[in-house]
Symmetry: D2
Subunit: 361 residues, 4 copies
């Protein structure tokens, strides 16, 4: 269904930007994993608006509550429902949005599909929807860590428009990324990126960029032949995030500039472990993990909301003009990092349980 | 499951390169659509090895048989099973593959996942698996055409390594693409691409490239918010194809070099139709089609099989060496074109039926 | 997944007897259906404890809140989350249940499956779980009524132990059933059943019985061949309700006492409508509705909680004894009626949308 | 989808009575299980027409072929496709069926749903469809036996019309059932049942009855709370079989005649094993197996095809008459036994893999 993901660890998100709240049900989670609201809150705070002076200053407390599936601090194996109440409701700010379609937003397509839409704050298309994903990922991660040890998922801002960070996926640490508000792994690019985002915001404009992500310590054999390949599911998961326009794994699009002789990853033995000399495959071969770091990149377009008058059409199909208002991210990249990581944990956990079902661990 | 795709039009493929055969079940197809084996055969012939002198000369007759779900030349609404018998079996050619992992193939990951693999011709990881997809797409296309008219899906070879074709997605025709054995839409690049593929093959090497695809005439509102976004499902479908390393839609990765002011697609009225001036969104906004052409690109890596000795490891975990043998594509791109188109029809048909279920057509 | 049901109209329930609350997400609902909390509350009140003096006097306010998916009083097509907060928490009442397995309850099997359980009030196995189903059914019913008119779902108490009601499924009305607190359709059995339930409760004992249900006005052709037959899905839906031990449709088990000559339902024309003279099929043939009333019966066992000391075992595997405490239904039948109806609406709505997807309406 | 079943072990059947063939894909099967066509053929022969002189004398060779998913005699973990070619095609026998609806068959509902049907031999509604289920069950059983030992599934004919067999579910053996052509477990009822079936057939009439089934040695904790309860899934599986009208587990409908005091199953320790003194629960509590024998009964109506003129309507909606022709079972019960067992193995295998995914084994 539209708002559910996963076969064995299944998440179902709900909620709009304004209204009662947003949240998620996580079903199929192994029992007896310690889980508290504080565990989830910590990750929600990483995606929260207002966390630094380069993201939207909008205040969203985003306090989560676990409604079910946890007893005496441990998962029970039954559905875990996490809800975050909406607070910062200012419906009046959206009167104009009720009547005009914001360019490059989902207003028109929602109306086109359903003949009706919740226009307050983007409704279901708001980035607030990702709160449910981030909460689910905390559970997914705990499920993985209860079954295998040493799995690391680290994402970082690889580029913001023309500013490229140099980051080694094999060695970068979560601490390095989290040490700066841009969430890039290249210390030298921190200040230029911050300055550029502020400058862009000052100009009422917006920018996009690329998030890169590595999974280290992934067991071999995750992912399934044909449709549910691990890289295919990661691609879907990433392109399901708001504002994404591209996904590539390993050598990606640049790999088309190599010949097979240059591109092939030669196997060799490192002790009793099968390794590859290069990693153009990006850790996935034939749709299954091969034990090398899984490395992929995701393109995020510049935020659609800008503080400029733009031509558009009205809901009654007249040409008109609309000027962005409110408090928005001039660059979504720093907040996209935890969203990317969240989707990876969710995909990996489902595949790990599927692997356990068919092949054991 | 690993080998099934779709919610309302569901396909389940089966089969290995060698063994009894390959095929597909298509379930949920609307009844009373005319369907013959010849309809399917025509598309199978487009993906078939041996169809021209720039693809593998391997002979695969690929004759399909419809086992069920069709009566008196029409679909009955019950599962349609299409099977293609395997013929060109030469097990002896694979003795070495039983004992050594081919670099950048799925041999090692299959063994790692299942502890066992069908090594003949790559088994389930063979491109023969896509026969089921291509057959299913014929049914999917008929389902779509029975419900809406004017939907076109056209893919072409956009680039082979450094050779880039200039093709206008808004005007290119299926005839232009099919008129040349490379399946590119740029007449001037046909001969250079043919020459380059032959040269590469002569050198025992291989190359990759990019396939671009356009969907014209797609109804608005296809795709669903959150996980099953139309672009997310297209991304998954494409990365589920063999040898793919990247997917991008609309402005894609290049779009990260624009500001929001440059990137936003302004709406305007063209008669009574809502259009956008630019199409950086690639025809999808918020995961739903907006009526503009859906344009995306898929990166295919260079074919892994090359006629050169390469270091690798054996199944008993010793360093060794392996030289490619047999008749393989030096460049998979011309045959990838119908595979890309097939997956688009399959994704669109499922989303069209889902749309019909929830919102009517 | 364990707590999800449906393909096109999908519901996912969550929640335990004690803890934050219980509820449901409904995904895939057609847009623009009027929906208020009052609509849902009305049905919740029918399943509520404390509604009459023959059901448990336990107080559960069961006030529902719609958290998402509704805007300006109408469904938006996105997931509808309904939550009911838990209130009447008295954990101390359950100390003994933490250490001993109640006979014929799910305590032991939960522990056996998950190695851990929420023992307060039965946790996830509590009948409070059905709140989510009843809420979802309100939405399901609205979805059906927006697409076809004249569908009626009426269930009633057919028997309580040896007391059998005479009810004509073809003519019984919802008003007749709802006019008495037993929810039977036979006016003459109302008082005997009430007396018998009170007597049973006075004795600290419990009784079960049979709920019968009719669907009138169901469109023909709902249900799908093979696994997802309409009767098969109704069977699953009914046996998924707490305390059920049997399901039969049409002639049911008694039909095995007839010969084919007696059992076959002869077709005849009634105006331009195909009818059957008898209805041993119970309105379903080959798994699809044939337009006749769908009639089925569900067996509910006597409530497991009784006010008597019973032998059992402790969680540390010692023989012991346990006496039921608290306020429980001596007979679950009156409250089972709305649960049965709820599951029918849910099953029908999903099949109606599936039908619309494949075959149109 | 209509013709698929299962979450982790998923089967998809296809095929009509006449046409190319019938079969099944089994996906998600653990790898390295020994599997041959002979293994499958043995069970197909148990459901085959013509196996004895009390079933239809129709000749169906039903020779199976494994097309995929098995290599060197072992499952590979990829989809297993089994196909059985149709042979005994006599389309002329069905000319009248094209124009008239057989009473209590699925002819009318198929036409009503799809507006079109394969009328030869009942098309998809033919009992030949169960060939795919029986084949899949062989794989399901092997999957179970590779993970847990000692699981037995035994079904038998409990009654044919008024003739009731006395069978002890706790001690009956597969050999006892298979030793007689009726497949009942009561030696004294064999000849009366055989005589009665022959007499019924001689009269051109038909009879139904009840199949009882026991699962012994089922691990505890199989089945999931709420919708996918083990008994709910068994109910669905049974009612998905052709000609079934009822399902009951444990005390079933008769259990409604007991009070809670009589009905409750008291726990006690037998060594270190938790047992129950009685088994009114039928081995399932709260939807999960409790380690006691799972005992259920399924009602099969009398076969719809009888050799008598019956009133019916034509496809162009006129009252008319139809007389059954051809070679049919006067009593489907003996052949229903392997079908019931097949569905149990399929349901159990899926739940065992789901259990393994979430909770380990």
């Amino acid at each position: 269904m539209s708002s559910s993901y996963g076969q064995n660890l299944k998440i179902s998100t709900f909620g709009e930007s304004h209204g009662g709240g947003v949240g998620v049900i996580i079903d199929g989670c192994p029992p007896k994993l310690p889980l508290t609201e504080a565990d989830i809150q910590k990750e929600l705070d990483r995606r929260r608006p207002g966390q630094s002076d380069i993201v939207t200053p909008r205040k969203e407390a985003d306090e989560c509550e676990i409604l079910s599936g946890v007893f005496q601090g441990m998962t029970t194996g039954t559905p875990i429902c996490v809800v975050v109440r909406n607070k910062d409701a200012r419906p009046s700010a959206y009167n104009e949005m009720a009547l005009k379609y914001r360019p490059s937003h989902a207003d028109y397509t929602y109306d086109s599909k359903y003949g009706f839409r919740n226009y307050e704050g983007g409704g279901r298309s708001s980035a607030r929807e990702t709160i449910g994903r981030v909460a689910a990922a905390v559970v997914a991660r705990k499920a993985i860590e209860s079954l295998v040890s040493g799995v690391e998922v680290i994402a970082w801002v690889k580029s913001i428009k023309h500013l490229n960070a140099e980051v080694n996926p094999n060695t970068v640490t979560a601490e390095q990324v989290e040490s700066n508000i841009v969430r890039t792994g290249d210390a030298e690019m921190v200040q230029p990126m911050i300055d550029f985002i502020k400058e862009t915001r000052g100009d009422g404009n917006s920018v996009g960029g690329v998030v890169e992500c590595v999974v280290r310590g992934c067991p071999t054999g995750l992912g399934e032949p044909v449709f549910d390949k691990l890289d295919a599911d990661l691609a879907k998961a990433m392109i399901s995030l708001p504002a994404t326009k591209g996904f590539e794994i390993g050598s990606g699009f640049a790999g088309t500039q190599l010949t097979g002789r240059e591109h092939n990853d030669h196997f060799y033995m490192e002790g009793d472990k099968v390794r590859t000399k290069t990693n153009n495959s990006g850790g996935v071969q034939g749709g299954m993990s091969n034990g090398e770091p899984i490395i992929f990149r995701v393109a995020f377009k510049p935020t659609a909301t800008i503080m400029t008058a733009q031509p558009t059409v009205s809901t009654d199909k007249e040409d008109t003009e609309l000027t962005g208002k409110g408090r928005h991210d001039a660059c979504v990249l720093p907040r996209a990092v935890p969203m990317v990581e969240a989707m990876v944990w969710i995909v990996l956990a489902d595949h790990l349980l599927r692997q356990r079902a068919q092949n054991g661990l």
